[in-house]
C-alpha cells in the first residue's frame, strides 16, 4: 500500500514537468549579468573602505552594513500574497527615476551620471548588496550643479526587508555617530507615499562646508523598495529647514506607475517615529544650517523607546536551565558530523574572529559551551542576557560592520573576512552570519588554511552566538544557510 502511495506520488510530481512546457529561464548569461551587476557594486563600495583599512594594516573584503528587524505588519496587498508574474518578471530598470522626474518644475537641470554619487556613511546601497533576500536590483545615478541623486530599486523576497533597511541605517548611524559624526538631523516616517517609508537627513561633518550632507529615503510599495540618496555639500544646505520630499515622492510615483500601473502617492507628509506630526513641534535652530545642533546628540534616535506612558514595559526573557544546543542539534553541521559537548573545554579558545565579547557589550549573564568533532573541528556557543532589547540590537548591529575593521594580515598568514549576510532565522528578531578564512601567504608554503563561520541571532534581550572553526568550510560555500538552522535551534534552546 505504501509502495502504491510512493509510486503514485512520484508519478504525479514528475508529471508537473508538463506545466513547464513553453516556460524557460532567461539563460546563463542573464544569471551572470545579474551577478555581475552586484559584484560591480560591491567592488565600488569595497574600494573606498579598503583604502582606509589597508592603511591600518587590515585586509577587508566586501565590507557592508546590514541588519534585519522583526517582520513588520505592512498593509498587505494582493501582490504580497502571490507576486503578479508579470510584475515579477518585469525589468526594474524601467521604473528608475529619470532626470525629468527629479527636475520636476524646479528649473534645475539634471542628467544621468556614470558615477552614481558619492558613498555616504552607512550607505544603504551597501546594505542592499549584502541582503540575502534581494531578488532583483537596479540602480541609477544623476547629477546637477547642486548635487547628486542615487536610486536603488530592489525587489525583496520578504516583507521585512524595507524596515530592515531603515533600521540598518538608523542603527549604523547611531553606532558611527556615537562621537558626534555623522550628525543626524532628521529621522521621520513618510506618510502618503507607498505602503511604508522612512527618511533620514544627516551631515558627514556639519562644520566642514565641503563635506557631504545626505538625505536617504526608503519607500516600499508591495514587494519593491526604492532607496534614494540625495547628496550635496554642507554649504549648499544653508537655509534648508524642511525636509524636501520631492525626490522620494517622484521615485515612488514612477515606481508604482511603471511596475503596477497605478499610483501609490496620496498626500505626502512626514511624522516622527512615534506617530506625531513633527511640524507641530518645529525643531529650533538656525535657519542657515541643520534644524538641530548637529554636533550634539542625534535629533531623533529611533532605537530609543517612545516616551509614551502607555507603552508597556519591555518583557525581559530569561535563559533556559540548559540554554545550549544539544549534541543531537549539532550532530550534523554541513558536512561535519558527530559533535559532542565538551564542558571541560575553554569556549573562548575556539577561533571566532570578528566576534565582540558580549560581556563587554553590557551583558548581565554570559555563558559559553564548547563542542568538538574528532579533534579537527570545534563549535562554540555563547548565550547572553542583555539589560534590554536595545542593547542586544546594538550588539548584533555592531557585527554588521565589524568585518570592516577586523581581519589580520601578517607576514605568514592573512585573513579574509567575508561579507556579513543578514539571515532569516525562525524565532529571531534579526541575525547575521559571516565567515573568515585564514590562509598562508605565498611566503609560507606548506601551511593549511583555516575556516571560521560565525552566526549571531537575537530575540528580545537574549542573544545567541554559534561559531564553527575547522580546517575547511563544512557548508560548501553556504555558511549562512547552515547558520540559519543552527541559530534557530539555538534560540529555541536558549530562551526559557
Amino acid at each position: 500500500m505504501t509502495d502504491g502511495f510512493d509510486d503514485d506520488l512520484r508519478r504525479r510530481l514528475t508529471g508537473l514537468s508538463a506545466d513547464l512546457d513553453g516556460v524557460s529561464l532567461p539563460g546563463p548569461s542573464a544569471a551572470r549579468k545579474r551577478a555581475a551587476r552586484r559584484t560591480r557594486h560591491q567592488v565600488t563600495g569595497g574600494v573606498l573602505a579598503g583604502v582606509a583599512a589597508v592603511a591600518a594594516g587590515v585586509l577587508v573584503l566586501s565590507p557592508s552594513d546590514l541588519s534585519t528587524t522583526p517582520e513588520p505588519a505592512p498593509p498587505a496587498t494582493l501582490s504580497t500574497l502571490t507576486p503578479d508574474p508579470t510584475a515579477t518578471a518585469s525589468d526594474l530598470s524601467a521604473a528608475l527615476l529619470t532626470p525629468e522626474d527629479i527636475a520636476g518644475d524646479t528649473g534645475v537641470a539634471w542628467a544621468a551620471a556614470d558615477e552614481p554619487g558619492p558613498e555616504v556613511a552607512c550607505d544603504p546601497a551597501r546594505t542592499v548588496e549584502a541582503m540575502s533576500s534581494v531578488l532583483d536590483h537596479a540602480r541609477a545615478g544623476f547629477a546637477s550643479a547642486s548635487g547628486g541623486v542615487r536610486q536603488d530599486l530592489v525587489r525583496f523576497g520578504d516583507g521585512g526587508s524595507a524596515a530592515g533597511l531603515a533600521d540598518a541605517l538608523a542603527g549604523c548611524l547611531d553606532e558611527e555617530g556615537a562621537d558626534g559624526l555623522p550628525a543626524v538631523v532628521d529621522t521621520v516616517r513618510l506618510t502618503g507615499v507607498g505602503d511604508e517609508g522612512w527618511m533620514t537627513r544627516y551631515y558627514m561633518d556639519p562644520n566642514d562646508q565641503e563635506a557631504t550632507a545626505a538625505v536617504v529615503a526608503v519607500v516600499r510599495s508591495r514587494d519593491v523598495v526604492s532607496v534614494t540618496v540625495q547628496t550635496e555639500s554642507t554649504a549648499d544646505t544653508a537655509g534648508e529647514v524642511e525636509l524636501d520630499l520631492a525626490v522620494p515622492v517622484a521615485a515612488a510615483r514612477r515606481m508604482c506607475d511603471v511596475l503596477y500601473g497605478d499610483s501609490c502617492v496620496t498626500e505626502p507628509g512626514t511624522e516622527d517615529l512615534t506617530g506625531a506630526d513633527p511640524t507641530e513641534e518645529p525643531a529650533g535652530g538656525p535657519t542657515d544650517g541643520p534644524t538641530v545642533d548637529p554636533t550634539g546628540a542625534p535629533a531623533d534616535d529611533p532605537t530609543e523607546p517612545a516616551d509614551d506612558p502607555t507603552t508597556p514595559p519591555e518583557e525581559l526573557l530569561q535563559l533556559a536551565d540548559d540554554p545550549f544546543l544539544t549534541e543531537e542539534d549539532v550532530a550534523q553541521v554541513g558536512t561535519a558530523t558527530g559533535f559532542v559537548r565538551r564542558p571541560d573545554m575553554d569556549p573562548s579558545g575556539v577561533w571566532t574572529p570578528c566576534l565582540q565579547d558580549p560581556a563587554g557589550s553590557g551583558a548581565t549573564d554570559v555563558r559559553g559551551l564548547g563542542y568538538n568533532h574528532e579533534l579537527d573541528a570545534s563549535i562554540v556557543e555563547w548565550v547572553a542576557v542583555m539589560p534590554d532589547g536595545d542593547s542586544v540590537f546594538r550588539f548584533v548591529g555592531a557585527h554588521t560592520s565589524l568585518p570592516d575593521v577586523c581581519g589580520e594580515v601578517g607576514e605568514f598568514r592573512e585573513q579574509t573576512v567575508g561579507e556579513p549576510v543578514a539571515v532569516e532565522v525562525d524565532g529571531a528578531d534579526d541575525a547575521v552570519a559571516w565567515t573568515v578564512e585564514d590562509t598562508p601567504t605565498p611566503d609560507n608554503p606548506g601551511s593549511e588554511s583555516s575556516f571560521a563561520g560565525i552566526g549571531v541571532a537575537r530575540v528580545g534581550n537574549i542573544v545567541v552566538v554559534v561559531g564553527f572553526s575547522a580546517m575547511g568550510d563544512p557548508s560548501g560555500g553556504d555558511w549562512p544557510g547552515v547558520a540559519t538552522g543552527l541559530l534557530a535551534t539555538a534560540l529555541e534552546r536558549a530562551v526559557a
Binding site: 502511495f5 498587505a76 500574497l81
Partner: protein, 172 residues
C-alpha cells in the same frame, strides 16, 4: 569564452530545467520558481569557483533556491488577512486538474514537509542524503516524510482526488 564561463553555462543548461521543476513543486507557483531558480544561479556565479568544486553544485543551487522561496512564503503568511478580504489572487490555471489538486495540496503542508517530499519523491534522494543536504537529523526527515505523506493523502482525499494515494509506512 573563459573556461569557467563555459563550465557555468554548461552546468546551467544541464541542470536548470530540473531545478526549475523541483522549485515549481516546492513553491506551487511558476513565476516564483523561475525567480528563485534564476536568482540561485546568479548567486552561484558570484562564487562559482567554490560552488563548482562542491560535491554537488546542483544541490547547492537547490538549497539556495529553496531558501529564497522559503523567505517568500514567510512574507506571504503576513498576507492571509488580505486574502480573506480580497479573495484569492488571479493566476494562470494549470492545464491539468490533477496538477492543480497536487499543487494545492502541497502548498497546504508545512514547508519542511514539502521540501522533504519533493527531495525524496521527485529528486529521488534517500533519507540520509536529504538529512545531509538540509543539515537535519535523519530521524527528523523520516518524520517529515511520514507526516507529509499522511497530510497529502488526507488533502487529496478531501478534494475527491485520492488517485490511489494512501498514507502509511516509514520512509525508506
Amino acid at each position: 569564452m573563459a573556461a569557467n564561463t563555459a563550465d557555468f553555462d554548461e552546468f546551467y543548461n544541464a541542470t536548470h530545467r530540473r531545478v526549475l521543476h523541483q522549485m515549481y513543486a516546492m513553491t506551487g507557483n511558476l513565476a516564483d520558481a523561475q525567480e528563485c531558480t534564476q536568482e540561485a544561479y546568479a548567486r552561484a556565479w558570484q562564487r562559482w569557483k567554490t560552488v563548482s568544486q562542491a560535491s554537488s553544485p546542483e544541490a547547492w543551487i537547490r538549497t539556495v533556491a529553496w531558501r529564497i522561496a522559503a523567505s517568500r512564503w514567510r512574507k506571504a503568511k503576513n498576507g492571509v488577512t488580505a486574502l480573506v478580504k480580497h479573495g484569492a489572487p488571479d493566476h494562470t490555471p494549470s492545464p491539468d486538474p490533477d496538477h492543480v489538486a497536487l499543487v494545492a495540496a502541497l502548498k497546504q503542508i508545512p514547508e519542511s514537509q514539502r521540501q522533504a517530499i519533493v527531495l525524496h519523491h521527485l529528486v529521488g534522494m534517500s533519507v540520509e542524503d536529504i538529512a545531509k543536504e538540509t543539515g537535519t537529523p535523519s530521524g527528523t526527515i523520516k518524520a517529515r516524510l511520514s507526516r507529509g505523506r499522511a497530510a497529502l493523502a488526507q488533502l487529496l482525499t478531501d478534494t475527491g482526488d485520492t488517485a490511489g494515494l494512501q498514507a502509511g509506512g516509514e520512509a525508506s
